[in-house]
């Protein structure tokens, strides 16, 4: 009996951790109970991107989007939707301030503004079945590349399409492929860099989990273009599900003869091996990655020679990010004109961002280049929860910078595509490689952390710097010593012992580390500090001179006080805070206003948490 309905249950890491697989099992049991198991097929797919509302399921062909499902909802869902054909309103997604839930997935704003190329198959294919991928034109691009195009034509196609590296630097992929093709030395290698060490970035993981075959097909086309014999997928060991799915995909590709000798009788010999990263952020840098694949200590080395001339085992090597490889098949299939229409003048195509932080709809979005921060945060992200004021957005992970929202009165000079000069404030800045770099941040892997008024920028800078300092490989002096000294200064400032020439020292050391470090990690580590210093200097000064943290994040600088009026009128002097205070620093009687002895107070903030009436004021 042919199926009439496909339930696409999301099995990305986010949803799986919210027990979406239990929902699937409950669904299966319920369908069998209702005798519908031959009419309704359950398909587990990769991550759909809307992790905030997982576990989620899309019922096709109707396109109904169900979210935050639990096993308890399953009987009602089956009864109503599958038996009676009436979608269940209760389980649909209702955007904030929206009157009614939106049934169709395509109408939900989170998905509507997206443009899927690298994630074209997410939610529509079972990542562990090659047949699903083939059904959605999988490996057709490879057939076209092998039969109708010469390697040079392939490279020409990629170059004209304007595809640039999605790892963060944005190096034109076509140029890189040509350099490796023309370099002397056999055999040649291509590497898929899935190290993704940035905290808060998970786009590579999601591509591996939802559509591993698109990466394999991209690498096959790259191998054909470059003349590479071996491929390596370098994937973080911290991504067990993604690792499992890429290995299954590679195994299936080998069984179908799409990897190995004489692929599709085209004479192309190519195979892919998987190497697991050992958890060092520095191994995201290409030369350190190569060292790690060769089994050596993951230290970067001086360049030139660039990996294109002498990379893995000293042979010409082309290293591209997961997302870059995933973009290749659509370009080859639909031609470069189609691709170059998307995006801006200098940055073509789409970019996958991981929208995290103080935003309602956290998750993974693939948007065309040129989209503005406002669209990304408000239209797609659903704005800032808890009616807090938007303060800044951090892009590019620990190597990126912070872009303030508050600089409304100082718009930046923006040259529109038609050459007209416009004054735009940051939020309306179209996002692409150059625009982000100009404001001191960088595209990076695509991590986008939204921050609201409750975020202390000094603390954010300290957090990111602590990460890069800890991940520094220690080979070159400026990065090893510089990041440590800057971290010590920032820690001092957050504890209220900073001085004004600490700021000058931060800038000086930051400049030197940025200019003279051996590899990308060192060159970008100071960015978070330098951009927060540039845009939020007043907060630093507040920490130093006023010994106050405007966002009350740096605990040592806070003072805690109980508002006597609220405490008595609303709280009737309940004394919860008095009992809970670990330092016994709160005094007062029933129905009397309570008082905090600031000498004993260790500023732990427990009283704020336990007081139901928000009587505790933090200054």
């Amino acid at each position: 009996m042919p199926y009439r309905v496909h339930c696409m249950v999301c099995a990305g890491t986010g949803c799986v951790s919210n027990r979406s697989l239990d929902v699937r099992d409950a669904l299966e049991k319920e369908l069998r109970k209702r005798g519908l198991e031959h009419e309704v097929q359950i398909v587990t797919t990769g991550c759909n991107g809307f992790c905030a509302v997982g576990p989620l399921m899309v019922v096709q062909p109707d396109g109904i989007f169900y979210q935050q499902l639990t096993t308890k909802d399953v009987p009602q869902l089956v009864e109503e939707h599958f038996v009676k054909g009436r979608p269940v309103q209760r389980l649909m997604y209702t955007p904030p301030e929206a009157p009614a839930p939106i049934p169709k997935m395509s109408d939900i704003p989170f998905f509507k503004h997206q443009r899927l190329i690298a994630l074209r198959n997410r939610g529509l294919v079972d990542p562990e079945k090659i047949e699903d991928y083939i059904a959605r034109d999988g490996y057709q691009a490879l057939v076209k590349a092998l039969t109708q195009m010469t390697p040079d034509e392939i490279i020409e196609e990629i170059t004209r399409a304007g595809l640039r590296g999605r790892g963060g630097a944005g190096f034109p992929t076509g140029v890189k492929w040509r350099k490796v093709r023309e370099a002397r030395g056999e055999p040649k290698y291509i590497i898929c860099n899935g190290d993704e060490g940035d905290p808060g970035a998970f786009m590579d993981r999601s591509i591996f989990e939802s559509d591993p075959h698109s990466v394999i097909e991209g690498m096959l086309i790259g191998a054909r273009a470059i003349g590479a014999r071996y491929g390596v997928v370098y994937i973080r060991n911290e991504y067990p599900l993604a690792l499992e799915r890429i290995q299954i995909a590679i195994q299936q590709a080998r069984e179908y003869g799409l990897l190995g000798e004489n692929i599709l009788d085209s004479g192309l010999d190519f195979d892919i091996s998987v190497t697991r990263g050992a958890g060092a952020f520095v191994c995201g840098e290409e030369t350190a990655l190569i060292a790690s694949v060769e089994g050596r200590l993951g230290d970067p080395r001086a360049r030139p020679p660039y990996p294109a001339e002498s990379g893995l085992w000293g042979k010409p090597t082309c290293i591209n990010n997961v997302e870059t490889w995933a973009n290749v098949p659509p370009i080859i299939l639909n031609g470069w004109e189609w691709y170059s229409q998307i995006g801006t003048e200098r940055s073509k195509g789409t970019k996958v961002f991981s929208l995290v932080g103080k935003v309602r709809n956290t998750g993974l979005v693939e948007v065309p280049m040129g989209i503005t921060l406002r669209q990304l945060i408000y239209d797609i992200g659903g704005g800032i929860p808890g009616d807090k004021k938007f303060k800044a957005v951090q892009t590019g992970g620990p190597s990126g910078g912070c872009i303030p929202a508050g600089m409304m009165d100082q718009p930046i000079e923006y040259v529109a595509p038609d050459g007209k000069h416009e004054a735009r404030d940051y939020l309306d800045l179209p996002i692409d490689y150059e625009s982000l770099t100009e404001v001191g941040s960088m595209m990076g892997s695509g991590g986008l952390v939204v921050m609201d008024e409750d975020t202390c920028m000094v603390d954010v800078a300290r957090f990111f710097l602590a990460f890069t300092q800890d991940e520094s490989c220690g080979a070159c002096a400026p990065c090893r010593e510089g990041t440590k000294l800057m971290l010590d200064i920032l820690t001092r400032i957050t504890q209220g012992h900073g001085t004004m020439d600490d700021l000058r020292a931060l800038e000086e050391i930051g400049w030197v580390v940025k200019q003279t470090s051996l590899c990308g990690l060192g060159k970008t580590a100071p960015n978070p500090v330098l951009t927060t210093l540039k845009y939020f200097r007043d907060e630093y000064i507040a920490h130093i001179e006023a010994h106050k943290c405007p966002a009350h994040v740096c605990r040592e600088l806070n003072t805690y006080r109980i508002d006597p009026v609220i405490c008595v009128e609303r709280g009737h002097g309940c004394g919860v805070c008095r009992r809970e205070c670990p330092e016994k620093a709160i005094f007062g009687e029933k129905n009397q206003p309570h008082r905090i002895d600031t000498t004993k107070c260790k500023k732990c903030g427990v009283c704020v948490d336990v007081c139901h009436f928000n009587a505790v004021i933090v200054e």
């Binding site: 009996m1 042919p2 097929q41 396109g63 529509l124 057709q140 599709l264 009788d265």
Partner: protein, 127 residues
């Protein structure tokens, strides 16, 4: 698995088309079987099974089958609506498995509405 040739890829793509078409909600004809409480009571499940059997026998992959709630005409159940892309949806009433076979042949395949069983043409938009 034997080593794939290019033709194998194309063949597999065709075979799997059915599933993907369905997933993308794309199809030439859409059949809605009304399974409201009354519909089910009147034997809507058998009609659904019949429709699915027809699709299977003809190995069609551009026909979408969905269910919907009660259309309001409980007396004329079981009912189904057949909507060919671009044409007005046609509602058929008092169905039996035999009738379903005829409707399928004339309307779904032939494109000509089976007047004798049709109740009304162009009621609410189904697509």
């Amino acid at each position: 698995m034997p080593k794939l040739k290019i033709e194998d890829l194309a063949r597999m793509r065709e075979e799997a088309r059915r599933a993907t078409m369905l997933r993308e909600g794309a199809g030439r004809v859409k059949i809605i079987v009304h399974l409201g409480t009354c519909g089910i009571a009147a034997g809507g499940r058998n009609i659904m099974a019949a429709v699915l059997r027809e699709i299977e026998e003809r190995n069609l992959h551009d026909v979408l089958v969905t269910t919907s709630g009660c259309a309001g005409l409980c007396s004329r159940e079981p009912m189904m609506t057949v909507e060919v892309l671009g044409q007005a949806p046609v509602k058929y009433v008092d169905l039996t498995e035999g009738k379903v076979k005829e409707i399928f042949a004339e309307h779904v395949m032939g494109g000509k509405i089976a007047e004798r069983y049709a109740l009304a043409v162009g009621s609410e938009r189904a697509m």
